[in-house]
């Protein structure tokens, strides 16, 4: 942990081939806070999210300029290693995607990949991760059951626990509740609000951004239009484009 911002982007331009998806993004995110990225489809918010743990590395023709630092270290520098970055910066996706394995094996998947073998150690990791994801009480008696038998909200929390098992400092969440019903959504949101780590969440649900985040960034056509405390963005945004978007008067 460092004193400065946990994530710092400076003059980030990003291209898919000749298409410029992000234009000069500069933004600092604070540790242990929830930062929401909002904006219409195609505005660049998910692209920006994926840059934070180098998920765009696999996209052919993708090109980045500018700098992104996580905990003070450049994640696109020549010495940086995508695998260790992804241990530091976990990710949860739109649809719950547990592996077709037991709950226990889902949570152990990452730790085993990096060499954890002892059952006693793994038991501790599993309990800690499931407790942190507010799922322990629901599943402690059926850890051997397939994760696919759980409800949608529980499956998404298995995915959160699976990401947490590697002890990340940051969790990226790409529309984590868009495939969930309102009750499951409320549980995941409660977890986000109480989580003891830095979270960056992309959401199309404006009320969700207002409910769970400390800071909100509004993206439009690849640019960062406004970034500030969520309370201010949703009660008195500075920019007219932000006001028009969040009040549904766009276009």
């Amino acid at each position: 942990m460092v004193d400065g911002p946990i994530i710092s982007a400076r003059d980030v331009d990003f291209f898919y081939g000749s298409f410029q998806a992000l234009k000069g993004i500069s933004l600092d995110m604070r540790a242990k806070e929830v930062t929401a990225l909002i904006g219409p489809s195609g505005c660049g918010k998910s692209t920006f999210l994926k840059l934070l743990n180098r998920m765009n590395d696999f996209v052919p023709g993708a090109r980045l300029s500018g700098e992104i630092q996580v905990s003070g270290r450049s994640i696109y520098g020549p010495d940086s290693d995508p695998v260790s970055i992804r241990r530091l910066v976990g990710m949860v996706f739109q649809r719950p995607n547990p592996f077709p394995k037991s709950i226990y094996d889902n949570i152990c998947y990452g730790p085993r990949l990096i060499g954890a073998r002892k059952k006693a150690d793994l038991d501790i990791v599993v309990e800690k991760a499931l407790r942190a994801a507010a799922l322990w009480d629901d599943v402690k008696d059926k850890l051997g059951k397939s994760a696919l038998e759980l409800s949608g909200g529980q499956q998404q929390r298995v995915c959160i626990a699976r990401a947490l098992a590697l002890g990340p400092e940051i969790l990226l969440m790409d529309e984590p509740t868009s495939a969930l019903d309102p009750i499951a959504t409320a549980k995941v949101e409660e977890w986000i609000k109480g989580a003891d780590l830095s979270i960056v969440i992309v959401t199309h649900n404006m009320q969700q951004a207002a409910r769970v985040s400390d800071h909100t960034a509004f993206f439009y056509m690849g640019s960062l239009v406004e970034y500030g405390p969520t309370m201010e963005i949703f009660t008195r945004p500075r920019e007219e484009r932000t006001e028009n978007y969040i009040t549904g008067r766009f276009g």
Partner: protein, 223 residues
């Protein structure tokens, strides 16, 4: 989240508030004229209008709450709806004061009929009544034209009204001190002055809401 019908309903609520403000303003102006002319008939007509103002308040508050519940408004829409709830209540209270002024007119007329000793209406009260009506009119204009500069001007006018109230109180208490038989009349005059002073306070509150809606700045309890 929001559609064209929500925007239309916001506009319609705005117009209802402007209409309520217009009714309240004309009520206060009529009350002031009735006061200055000692016109009992007019005063009764003012008092009779209060019920309609109360009904308008209820209707506006119900609509604002429904719009909040159904649309989860944010930013300017949220500020407007939150302010609508307060504006409707402020306007209703202004209506009450108009009606109270009407009652003072009737009270003063009754004293005259009963042959009580009455003094001359102080010049300060006449000026205060006119200033208070102007202040209210400016606050309503600031709301209907979303004019925060005019709202800021309204905030500076309250001191003038407060000064008048102090002067009238001092003057009338002096008169009562010299001639105790003026007490009943004097109390009506002091109460009238207090109603007008409160009118200034409510005009101030209305102007503060205008600043909140237009600028997102909370200036309440600063004036």
């Amino acid at each position: 989240m929001t559609g064209a019908s929500f925007v239309q309903e916001l506009d319609s609520l705005r117009l209802s508030l402007i209409a309520m403000g217009g009714d309240v303003l004309s009520m206060v102006k009529a009350a002031v004229e009735a006061l200055l002319a000692g016109d009992e008939e007019r005063a009764r007509a003012v008092i009779a209008r209060d019920q309609d103002i109360n009904a308008q308040e209820n209707q506006i508050v119900d609509r604002a709450i429904r719009l909040i519940a159904m649309n989860q408004p944010v930013a300017g829409d949220l500020r407007f709806l939150a302010a609508s709830l307060r504006l409707a209540t402020e306007l209703e209270r202004v209506g009450d004061l108009g009606s109270n002024l009407g009652r003072r007119v009737l009270g003063l007329a009754k004293l005259g009929r009963e042959g009580a000793v009455v003094g001359q209406t102080p010049q300060e009260l006449t000026r205060m009544a006119r200033e208070a009506a102007v202040m209210l009119e400016k606050a309503m204009t600031a709301f209907s034209s979303r004019d925060s500069a005019l709202a800021e001007e309204v905030l500076t006018l309250d001191d003038i009204i407060d000064d008048f109230n102090r002067q009238i109180r001092r003057l009338v208490l002096g008169l009562i001190y010299d001639n105790g038989r003026l007490a009943a009349w004097g109390l009506e005059i002091i109460n009238t002055s207090v109603h007008l002073e409160r009118l200034g306070d409510h005009a101030t509150n209305l102007a503060e809401e205008v600043i909140y809606v237009t600028k997102g700045k909370n200036v309440r309890h600063k004036y």
